[in-house]
Symmetry: C2
Subunit: 364 residues, 2 copies
């Protein structure tokens, strides 16, 4: 088999500096575990706009389509706030998700034991928490037409459209059920079927996929507002949550915060299998570009490093090596190393982004 | 001035039993404070469907339009799950909101001192919390057209439309700024302007209203996903949050849960002033109909009683009497009285719904 290819898109803000640490990890796997990657790097978001006047150049899009996996840092920043909607940094990321057709976004919310006290929630509410939100990523109100700001009489109207087809719901439901089978066999689907017809169709299709092909998995339904509540109250009641693009955006951010360690959480966005059997895939941290701390050595590289671990698992079938990397991260945290975002305990001095990266490589 | 009129709509589930307690409180104010109301009662939600085949009879709608304030219990329940979307219990509530044009929904998330330990969040994160979410309530994806489930080729598509006009955003922004002036003079507006054009217009109009008429109020903007996160991390950073209908639904439920006392939280939905100067108004608890505990004397009547306190304040200009009622509630909680939803402390026996109501009347 030829060397697998990896496209790295550091993006904006803290993206580039956390990606430097990921490359150390990638190099370690090449040198020590015989896992080599054909790595290339390119621009996305504001960085791409600065150079090309677009947040994602067509050449980059093409590369992303042809590699085995894409690893992305983060996009956006106040520097680009005044840009027209069509060239905002976020459009680059959304174009990647849409054109690669990455419909299933896995967002684990896992509470690391060493960090359980760091959550704003009580220790017993979050310690040992390990849930995954499966967010539909290529449809819904993010992409539905018509959209825009139009003139109507003497005022303007802002319009967006939530649209879900049966097949779009079907495929993401399947990916959630498949994941649940490899975990605790439990899926909770969230929508607002009491208010939105798209939610009614969502609930119906998820139920149908369940009844036809996954009746061994326990399925429940919950309104998304109640879901937000329950996530804050007792998140351990969940295992896999499946929900639409917009609800998934909100719920996964809330869930991420529960763990007390946003700088730690990776994500995988998966599409259909390519010719070589691997799914189209993009991996990125859940955190944003954190422009306020960019370039100061304060960023936590762990979310991005764990995103690479997800790549090892989901794209390259290297579950054991992924676990090795995850254990190295836990070890370093257990040893008390903390980047600035993780402070809160007494008497701990923060380490820099690169010290954290080095420590993880050493632990490997 | 003639006796003010109050329409009571107990609704479904625990709605009727909590409303019995509210009536005790109303009677107390009549007997002891010279505050009499012309009270009438009618059906909404599943209860109305059972009798009339519609979740809100036209006669009830007309009454609601003509009274000084409406007090609602809760709607919905599994008994009505299979009903057609158009006659679901929730449609009754949504019709009231829409036809009374109650565009400004105030949802306080307040942490009662006696209950601070009851939250799933750490005490210092929530103790003393006192924020208000101002949710737009008559537009957005709840009401936008086109909507429905349509056939397209060989599959069905679920469609809903988010629509906001400038004037819809303008008026709810004003109500948030007005409220902020009576509080800590701070508003945070939340949307997804990085993804949705309706969010761009939202941000722009809120900023314009601010710059033109409320530049004394501190205004910030936040993406709604980050807002969900920050609510879970450090909610005290906020004072007034203004946001759209759907985001408001999610964010206010999350905020409610933070306080650890969902059964305690009231809400006010306000529209434009009527001929007598009072705003069109509907008051209701934030909690739902809780069908699982209905009829067992377990429901907490406090959210509904505090909704009546909000009515005293916002509809009847009786801020002092509202404060008296709120203090009575705090006193009873301080004395250690707890309904079943508030258990968690050692060695406390729950009181029933009616015992709680009686105790509050006694404390008055
Ligand atoms: C950056 C933004 C476009 C994005 C989203 O809204 O999907 C982000 O919030 C996320 O959750 O990945
Ligand atoms: C019952 C339902 C229609 C309602 C809503 O979604 O607005 C409820 O969740 C609320 O928040 O008042």
């Amino acid at each position: 088999m030829s060397t697998p290819s990896l496209l790295i898109l550091p993006g904006d803000g803290i993206g580039p500096e956390v990606m430097v640490e990921v490359r150390k990890v990638i190099d370690w796997f090449g040198a020590n575990r015989g896992l080599s990657f054909d790595v290339s790097e390119d621009l996305v978001g504001g960085a791409a706009y600065d150079k090309h006047g677009t947040p994602l150049h067509d050449d980059t899009m093409e590369k992303a389509q042809s590699v085995d996996a894409v690893l992305l840092g983060a996009v956006g920043g106040p520097k680009y706030d005044a840009l027209d909607f069509s060239v905002k940094p976020e459009r680059g990321l959304l174009r990647l998700r849409k054109e690669m057709d990455l419909y299933s976004n896995l967002r684990p919310a896992q509470c690391f034991d060493a960090l359980a006290d760091f959550s704003s929630l009580k220790r017993d509410v979050v310690a040992g928490l390990d849930i995954v939100i499966v967010r539909e990523l290529t449809s819904g109100i993010y992409f539905g037409e018509p959209r825009g700001i139009i003139q109507e009489g003497n005022e303007r109207v802002g319009i967006n459209t939530q649209r879900y087809t049966e097949s779009e719901i079907d495929r993401v439901a399947r990916s959630a059920f498949e994941l649940a089978r490899r975990r605790s066999n439990k899926v909770c689907s969230m929508e607002k079927a009491n208010v939105m017809e798209s939610g009614i169709l969502w609930r119906e299709v998820v139920q149908k996929v369940h009844d036809e092909d996954y009746s061994d998995v326990e399925l429940t339904h919950m309104y998304a507002d109640a879901g937000a509540m329950q996530l804050c109250r007792w998140p351990k009641q969940f295992d896999v949550i499946v929900t639409d693009n917009l609800f998934g955006d909100m719920l996964s951010d809330a869930a991420a915060m529960l763990t007390g360690s946003l700088g730690m959480l990776p994500s995988a966005s998966l599409g259909a299998p390519m010719a070589n059997g691997r799914p189209k895939a993009l991996y990125e941290p859940v955190h944003g570009s954190a422009p306020d701390i960019a370039g100061q050595g304060k960023a936590n590289p762990i979310a991005c490093i764990l995103s690479f671990a997800m790549a090892l698992r989901y794209s390259f079938d290297q579950g054991d090596e992924a676990a090795r990397l995850e254990q190295a991260v836990e070890k370093v945290l257990g040893d008390g190393l903390r980047t600035a975002d993780l402070l809160g305990e007494e008497g701990i001095e923060p380490v820099t982004t690169s010290q954290m990266g080095d420590a993880i490589v050493a632990a490997l």
